[in-house]
């Protein structure tokens, strides 16, 4: 292949063409891009300089996502790639890269929330019959735990934009890891101004 990361092939700052005076060196090497797709997990291990390893994720379907304002993380399925600020092609081909906006499965977060605060989240308003309160909310708790849960209820308020996403069962998240380097697709759930920004971009 011969991907190299040197600057000797580029023109200098004054515009002068630099003559080639040596061959490509191993320490200047570059490798093929991973272009991690959405699918059943497939990771290749690469031996790198110094004997260290990189994990090139070729296909991934799940990742560890954090809900920042609640300070928890859960392993979740990645459902779809929704937006990429660099290249629309990467959205069409569902390629996972750092800072791609994806949709993730909301169930682990919903389960945590209902167990932690004992209040329903993402309840559909208006449509149809009132849903039966889930088992998580009504499960048997010891007296001490019940008192803690009651004390937390004041902080249980969730942003309406997030609530809306919970109702649909899909949350918008941003990837913060580099799948082609670490082999993982981890990220954080979009909230606040960032969420508003990307929702506006998606609407266009």
């Amino acid at each position: 292949m011969g991907i190299s990361r040197d600057s000797r092939h580029k023109r200098s700052a004054s515009g002068a063409k630099r003559a080639q005076y040596r061959k490509k060196r191993k320490f200047e090497l570059g490798r093929q891009a991973a272009n991690t797709k959405l699918g059943a997990k497939r990771i290749h291990e690469v031996r790198t300089r110094g004997g260290n390893r990189k994990f090139r994720a070729m296909r991934l379907d799940a990742g560890n996502f954090s809900w920042g304002s609640e300070a928890i993380s859960r392993k979740t399925r990645i459902v779809a790639v929704v937006y990429n600020s660099s290249n629309n092609e990467l959205v069409r081909t569902a390629t996972l890269v750092k800072n791609a906006i994806v949709q993730i499965d909301a169930t682990p977060f919903r389960q945590w929330y209902e167990a932690h605060y004992a209040t329903p989240i993402g309840a559909r308003k208006g449509k149809g019959a009132v849903k039966v309160e889930s088992e998580e909310i009504n499960k048997a708790r010891s007296n001490h735990v019940q008192r803690k849960v009651e004390a937390r209820k004041d902080d249980a308020k969730v942003d309406p934009a997030l609530d809306h996403q919970f109702a649909a069962g899909r949350l918008y998240a941003c990837l913060s890891s580099r799948p082609g380097q670490s082999g993982r697709a981890d990220g954080y759930i979009l909230e606040g101004q960032e969420l508003a920004f990307y929702i506006r971009k998606l609407k266009k």
């Binding site: 700052a13 902080d155 960032e194």
Partner: protein, 155 residues
């Protein structure tokens, strides 16, 4: 706000913006800034402003180390970077005389410095490579003093 011009959400990396709002703290500008050291004062605009610049020495991820140089601005046409001209005298021993030489330098200029024009004198500090030719970052601007400056310089 108005600094979200790019296709990706611009934010300061490392500060968490979406903490659950308990009280009035959300009104304050949740901004991170640092002092670059070596006695350089960090500008008020860097602390109170809303711009996002990862290459800014005060609000971004670059450290100033190595050389500190000064020069005169000759061009501000690039986005957030300027060209500086540094003049010096080179001694020719055969004739026992000097000749004028100059070198141009590309430096990154943070949006914290507003109203900077061609001809101003500037102090720059060395940082890690920010682009193909930029290895310096503007730390201080000394505006050009125009004789009779009380009158309008241009209109």
């Amino acid at each position: 706000m108005s600094e979200q011009i790019e296709k990706a959400f611009q934010k300061q990396q490392g500060i968490f913006q979406n903490a659950k709002v308990a009280g009035k703290k959300s009104v304050k500008n949740n901004r991170w800034y640092k002092e670059v050291g070596l006695g350089f004062k960090t500008p008020k605009e860097a602390i109170e402003g809303h711009y996002i610049d990862k290459k800014c020495p005060f609000t971004g991820d670059v450290s100033i180390r190595g050389r500190i140089l000064t020069g005169e601005i000759i061009s501000t046409k690039m986005k957030r970077t300027i060209i500086i001209r540094r003049e010096y005298l080179h001694f020719i021993s055969k004739y026992n005389r000097y000749e004028k030489r100059h070198k141009n330098l590309a430096a990154h200029m943070s949006p914290a410095f507003i109203g900077v024009q061609q001809g101003d004198s500037v102090t720059v500090g060395q940082c890690r490579p920010l682009s193909k030719t930029v290895r310096f970052n503007v730390l201080k601007v000394q505006k050009k003093v125009v004789k009779g400056a009380k009158n309008f310089a241009k209109f």
